[in-house]
C-alpha cells in the first residue's frame, strides 16, 4: 500500500506511540487486501466489549497517548454501578475489565455512546461518506440504509481508523465490490418488525456470506424493521450490505444493484419459510423467569410500544423484565413518561448494556423470552424462547409462555 509522507511519519512514531500502533494495524490490513492507498473517513464506531482482547488494544492506544481524530462512538458494555448495586453475583474481576475498557475509551477521546445503534442519534453517517463502523448489525445498516461506505470492521480496526482518521481503501469502500450477489424474492407478507427479524434470520442462514437484493417488498420498511433485519442476518450469516431497490438508497433497480451481473443464486421467501424460522426458535414453553428486550438497543418507538403494552398492568412476581436501550433514548423515554409506566409495572429500563455481558450471570440457569434471535444466540441463559414483543410482554404478565 502506498503511504503518503504524513502516513509514513505516523508509522515512524512521530505522532506518538498509540497512533503509531493504530497505523501499523491499518497498514497490515491494507497489505492483506492489496489496498493501493488510504482514504479519509468521517467517523467510526468501535464495537467495544468488556472482553480482554478489546481491553488490551484500547489500552495500548490510550497508554500511547492516542486520541480519536474523527468522531468515534462505542458499543454497549454494561452499566457497572447499576448492576453491582443490584446483585452480588457478578465476579469482581469481570467488573474490573469492564471498568478499564470504559475508562480507556474515554482516554482515547471516543464518544461514550455505549450504544449498538449509534447511527440513530450519537454518530450519524451521511450518504456516500467513507466510515469505519464495526458491530455486525451497524455495518449493513450504514451501508444499505444510509448509503455510507464501511467494511466489516473489528472493534480494533474501527478504533484504529478513528484514531488515524483514515482507513485502507478496499472492499465495500469500492463501488464494484458493493454489487448484489443473491436475488431474494419475497412472497411473505412482512407485516411487522418481527417478520423482518425472521426474514433476516432465514436469509442469513441461507446465503451465509453475500449481498442480497430483495424484490417483492411492497412498502417502505420502518427503521426498526431494517435494524432487525441487519442484526438477525448477522446472527446466522455475515451480511454487510443488502439492497431493497425502491426503498434503500443506493440502487433504484434490481439491475443497478447487481451492476449488470447475474445473481449467483435466487431464493424465494414465503410465509412458510418465516414460519419454519419461527418454529426453530421455539425451544421450550411453560414458566419463564425473565424477559429481555433491546438486542439491538430499542429505539424510542419500541420503548413506547412496551410502555403501551404495560400501561396499568403488573408484571408477574416471578419474572424480571428488562429493556436495554441507549442513554439518549432512555432520557427521552423518561421525559415522555414511558420509563415511569414500565417501572410501575415492575420492569427495568437499563442503559449502556449489552446482552452478551457478565452482568446477566444471575440468569445463567434461568429460562427467558426475547424478541431477538441475537439475544438467544449468546447462550448466556439456560433457555430463551424467541417471539414477538407483544408475546414476551404478555408472558411476563402471566408468568408463563404456552
Amino acid at each position: 500500500m502506498h503511504l503518503t509522507k504524513e502516513e509514513e511519519r505516523i508509522l515512524n512514531g512521530e505522532c506518538g506511540e498509540g497512533t503509531r500502533k493504530a497505523m501499523e494495524l491499518l497498514a497490515a490490513i491494507g497489505d492483506a487486501y492489496d489496498a493501493e492507498k488510504m482514504v479519509p473517513i468521517s467517523r467510526a464506531h468501535a464495537a467495544s466489549s468488556g472482553q480482554e482482547g478489546d481491553l488490551y488494544f484500547v489500552e495500548l492506544l490510550a497508554d500511547g497517548g492516542a486520541r480519536c481524530k474523527v468522531p468515534t462512538s462505542t458499543n454497549p458494555v454494561y452499566d457497572i454501578e447499576y448492576f453491582h448495586n443490584l446483585s452480588d453475583f457478578i465476579p469482581k474481576d469481570e467488573a474490573e475489565v469492564a471498568r478499564r475498557v470504559m475508562e480507556a475509551y474515554k482516554r482515547v477521546g471516543a464518544i461514550l455512546s455505549w450504544s449498538c445503534v449509534p447511527y440513530l442519534a450519537e454518530n450519524i453517517p451521511l450518504y456516500g461518506e467513507a466510515v469505519a463502523f464495526s458491530e455486525s448489525s451497524a455495518t449493513p445498516y450504514v451501508n444499505s440504509v444510509i448509503g455510507a461506505r464501511t467494511n466489516r470492521e473489528a472493534a480494533q480496526s474501527a478504533l484504529a481508523a478513528g484514531v488515524v482518521g483514515k482507513t485502507p481503501k478496499y472492499g465495500l469502500l469500492i463501488k464494484a465490490n458493493r454489487k448484489g450477489t443473491h436475488l431474494i424474492k419475497v412472497e411473505a407478507a412482512l407485516k411487522d418488525e418481527f417478520d423482518y427479524t425472521l426474514l433476516g434470520y432465514y436469509v442469513g442462514k441461507q446465503i451465509g456470506y453475500g449481498t442480497p437484493v430483495f424484490t417483492g417488498v411492497t412498502r417502505q420498511p420502518s427503521t426498526e424493521e431494517l435494524i432487525n433485519f441487519c442484526a438477525m442476518s448477522n446472527v446466522s450469516g455475515a451480511i454487510s450490505m443488502f439492497y431493497i431497490p425502491g426503498f434503500t438508497i443506493e440502487a433504484q433497480t434490481v439491475k443497478e444493484a447487481f451492476q449488470g451481473d447475474t445473481p449467483q443464486d435466487k431464493i424465494t421467501v414465503t410465509d412458510r419459510e418465516l414460519k419454519q424460522a419461527y418454529e426453530v426458535l421455539q425451544t421450550t414453553s411453560g414458566k419463564i423467569d425473565f424477559v429481555m428486550l433491546g438486542c439491538p438497543h430499542y429505539t424510542l418507538k419500541q420503548v413506547e410500544g412496551v410502555a403501551k403494552l404495560l400501561n396499568g398492568k403488573k408484571l408477574h412476581d416471578g419474572v424480571s423484565f428488562w429493556v436495554c436501550t441507549s442513554a439518549t433514548t432512555k432520557m427521552l423515554a423518561a421525559r415522555t413518561g414511558y420509563v415511569d409506566i414500565i417501572e410501575k409495572a415492575g420492569g427495568y429500563v437499563v442503559v449502556d448494556t449489552c446482552i452478551d455481558e457478565p452482568c446477566w450471570i444471575a440468569y445463567k440457569n434461568k429460562v427467558g423470552m426475547t424478541d431477538s434471535p441475537k439475544c438467544a444466540y449468546y447462550r448466556r441463559f439456560k433457555d430463551v424462547i424467541v417471539s414477538r414483543p407483544k408475546d414476551c410482554t404478555e408472558a411476563a404478565i402471566k408468568g408463563e409462555w404456552k
Binding site: A28, A32, Y33, E52, S136, A155, Q156
Partner: protein, 141 residues
C-alpha cells in the same frame, strides 16, 4: 530418518518470525472454540477437534465467527502462552489481521505453492514474514 528442506516465498501481512511443528486444517478456525488453558480445539466435529494448536504453525483456509469472539479467543490463548507460533492462510479478512496483530504472531498468505499440498501436519515449518519466506522441513522416515 532423512529430511529435505523447501523454501517458499510468501506475502507478509503481520511481520515477525515463528517456527514449530505444522498443523494443517482444511476447515476454517475459530480461536474462541479452543481451550484457552491448553490450546486444545474443542469445537465438535471440527477436523482438529481434540488436537492442540499451542506453539504450532497453523495452516488453514481462513478464520470464522464474529470479531469479538475470534479476537478474545486468540488473546486468551496468548495470555496463557498457548497461541500458535505462526499463521499461514489462504483467505485473509480484517478480523484475522487484527487477531494476529494483537498477539504478535506472524501472519502470511499467498505462498508460491498451495500450502495444503506443500505442508503436512508434522512437518517442521519456519515462517519469516519479514523476509517473506516459509521454510518447510519434511519429516519422512
Amino acid at each position: 530418518m532423512k529430511s529435505s528442506e523447501i523454501v517458499l516465498k510468501c506475502h507478509k501481512i503481520i511481520g515477525g518470525c515463528g517456527e514449530g511443528e505444522a498443523m494443517v486444517s482444511h476447515e476454517p478456525i475459530c480461536f474462541y472454540l479452543t481451550d484457552p488453558k491448553t490450546g486444545v480445539v474443542r469445537e465438535k466435529n471440527h477436523e482438529l477437534a481434540g488436537k492442540n494448536i499451542a506453539d504450532k504453525v497453523l495452516v488453514f483456509p481462513s478464520g470464522k465467527a464474529s470479531s469479538v469472539v475470534q479476537i478474545d479467543g486468540i488473546y486468551k490463548l496468548a495470555s496463557n502462552n498457548h497461541a500458535p507460533k505462526a499463521l499461514i492462510v489462504k483467505d485473509v479478512e480484517t478480523v484475522l489481521v487484527v487477531s494476529a496483530f494483537i498477539v504478535k504472531v506472524p501472519l502470511v498468505n499467498r505462498l508460491e505453492k498451495d500450502p495444503f499440498e506443500a505442508i503436512e501436519t508434522g512437518d517442521f515449518v519456519k515462517v519469516d514474514a519479514d523476509k517473506g519466506t516459509v521454510t518447510i522441513t519434511k519429516q519422512k522416515s
